[in-house]
């Protein structure tokens, strides 16, 4: 595929054939080479063929092959005339990341780390075929789908600050539980408060480096060695089923036959399917907010139990990285409302945006980028530049470079575990092949991913965290 270098870390796939806009890749040469090894670039070009796409089909530094849309992709459509695409959001609707800061230091944690991990793995069940500890009544689920983390607050699982420090205040407007299928509800009810599997995790991390001390302090990060807790998970089976249901519904209309890839299935935002999908998606978004909030509550309870107190265990922020939402962006000099799809991309708004919580509005939003198991994770600062360059978005993680199957062959699970131990990282939850699949070597270098974000200015590095203990999904 033809690629044109625009600037340092910026590449363009020229508009050819059925493409309606060019593709734009944000990557270093090393990351670009990785993208060339799978269908990332082709999929970025395929997204550019969707009618009404605005500006560019964008691939972030961590982009890798998905199905239809690449994982690590951003695409925007007009809020009235444009499309909405279940595949452009992804199966795990509102998969996201939550960061909690604590007053505990790594030295204080050392003796109690394993006990804390044991408490966490008990209260936040990881892996396939697990039920959450909080069993919902059927009527209660409607509340969860309508009100997200606000449902959690009403039930004593959230503080006011938790809600204020969550994207969309932890409740996405526009939800309609009636648009969520019975199958999706059946899948979701037992899973609230569970972690999921694959690359989902709950990690105890230590502050390894602070790059912007003033900003870090505003985000509650004050010293190297401070312990933080990071959670990466989403809307569980409920969200996955919502996505599948609507791809199926769009497919059954025959609308996907003319597409470059059937998983690009999309509907006009104003059509019945488009409206229904949005209402169901917003419901799933709320389910995920409630899920991460219950996990945050379980984290506090575990701290109380093992560390003696949960004082100071406070939320820094909670970001969504699989989502479509209406936002105002300046396009060709004019402010315009668009429906931004972020599939494996994180919103990275700079100062002044009304969407950012009051406490952060003067400086920009916190951006949370988790690494793969056993590697570093990052706290970044959103910027106005991202609003100019990438519809206010940056990367979302490390991004796979190796198939799960190859990883299993290449990294024996016991060696992975031994290697993590050698680095001082204790793992709970999934063992066996799951560990091998998520071996650090199966992922891109997260340090390189955030370096590109920082160099481009679409998300500036504030602090780097390294893991002390992992509950692996």
């Amino acid at each position: 595929m033809e690629l044109r270098k625009v600037d340092d870390c910026i590449w363009e796939i020229p508009q050819t054939g059925r493409m309606n806009v060019p593709g734009r890749i944000f990557a270093s040469e090393a990351l670009l080479e990785k993208m060339k090894e799978d269908r990332t670039l082709q999929q970025t070009a395929n997204v550019a063929t969707l009618p009404g796409i605005i500006g560019y089909s964008i691939a972030m530094p961590d982009a890798h092959q998905g199905y239809g849309f690449p994982v690590g992709g951003v695409a925007a459509f007009d809020a009235k005339e444009g499309l909405i695409s279940p595949g452009g959001v992804g199966f795990d609707i509102n998969c996201g990341v939550r960061l909690m800061r604590t007053d505990v230091t790594d030295k204080q944690l050392a003796q109690k780390r394993d006990a804390l991990l044991d408490a966490l793995v008990k209260s936040v069940p990881p892996g396939a075929g697990r039920e959450g500890l909080h069993r919902l009544k059927k009527d209660e689920l409607q509340e969860v789908l309508m009100h997200g983390a606000h449902w959690a607050k009403r039930n004593g699982f959230a503080t006011k600050d938790d809600l204020a420090r969550t994207e969309e205040d932890g409740r996405m407007e526009g939800a309609d539980p009636a648009k969520v299928s019975a199958r999706a509800i059946t899948r979701g009810v037992p899973q609230l408060g569970t972690l999921g599997s694959g690359n989902h995790f709950l990690e105890l991390q230590r502050v390894d480096r602070i790059v912007m001390p003033d900003v870090a302090e505003k985000f509650g990060i004050t010293k190297v060695g401070q312990v933080v807790v990071m959670v990466h998970c989403g809307s569980r089976g409920l969200g996955h089923q919502v996505c599948g249901d609507f791809i199926e519904r769009i497919e059954s209309t025959g609308a996907t036959k003319t597409l470059a890839d059937p998983e690009l299935a999309s509907a006009q935002l104003q059509s019945d399917i488009g409206q229904d999908y949005r209402a169901a998606m917003c419901s799933a978004i709320n389910f995920a907010f409630a899920n991460r909030q219950l996990i945050a509550h379980a984290i506090r309870q575990s701290f109380e139990k093992v560390m003696g107190s949960a004082e100071g265990v406070e939320q820094v922020y909670d970001v969504c990285h699989n989502i479509a939402k209406f936002e105002k962006h300046v396009i060709d000099g004019k402010k315009r409302e668009v429906c931004v799809h972020r599939k494996g991309a994180t919103r990275a708004f700079g100062p002044g945006r009304p969407e950012i919580p009051d406490v952060y509005r003067k400086i920009g939003q916190p951006v949370l980028i988790p690494g793969s198991m056993g590697t570093a994770s990052y706290l970044l600062l959103g910027t106005s530049k991202s609003e100019e360059m990438s519809f206010g978005s940056t990367a979302h993680g490390a991004g796979r470079i190796m198939s799960r199957h190859t990883a299993i062959k290449q990294f024996p699970a016991d060696k992975v575990k031994a290697e993590l131990r050698r680095k001082g990282i204790e793992v709970r939850g999934s063992s066996g092949k799951g560990l091998a699949e998520e071996a650090p070597g199966a992922y891109k270098d997260v340090d390189e991913v955030v370096r590109v974000s920082d160099t481009l200015g679409i998300g500036k590095i504030v602090a780097r965290f390294t893991p002390l203990g992992v509950v692996k999904g």
Binding site: R187, G198, S430
Partner: protein, 138 residues
């Protein structure tokens, strides 16, 4: 010949299942899906279920068949291991699959592989020829 194999896919799991008949290929695909998440040979046939799946064509039938087991795992913790009396019939506009399936409830003793199927996708889905192929979002 193997019943199924996993092929390279950067982020997801791509499964190809073989067999002399469409029914056998569907059986092997479903068992392969369990094998992705649990140690298949450790799953006991303790629970019996009769299921009926419909699809508008063979593609959607394969998709819906596999998705049923994703649903049963999430909703009831049912883990599939054995399939009997599987029959695919075609009426004018609908394909129907009837089968009796066996498995067990996922308990703590059942070894997990670390992956869970989030969804059965239509990406690179194939039902023609001597195999079926499907990409799972995991």
């Amino acid at each position: 010949m193997v019943d199924y194999e996993f092929l390279g896919h950067t982020s997801e799991a791509k499964l190809r299942a073989f067999g002399p008949t469409p029914e056998q290929r569907f059986v092997n695909a479903a068992r392969g899906m369990t094998d992705l998440m649990f140690e298949l040979d450790k799953v006991q046939p303790k629970i019996r279920k009769q299921i009926v799946i419909k699809g508008r064509d063979m593609r959607s039938l394969l998709h819906n068949w596999l998705e049923e087991f994703v649903l049963l795992l999430d909703a009831e913790l049912f883990v599939l291991c054995r399939i009997e009396k599987i029959k695919i019939t075609k009426t004018k506009e609908t394909f129907t699959l009837d089968a009796v399936v066996f498995g067990q409830k996922a308990d703590d003793a059942l070894p997990r592989r670390g992956a869970a199927v989030k969804a059965v996708t239509y990406d690179e889905l194939e039902v023609e020829g001597d195999h079926v192929q499907v990409v799972f979002d995991v």
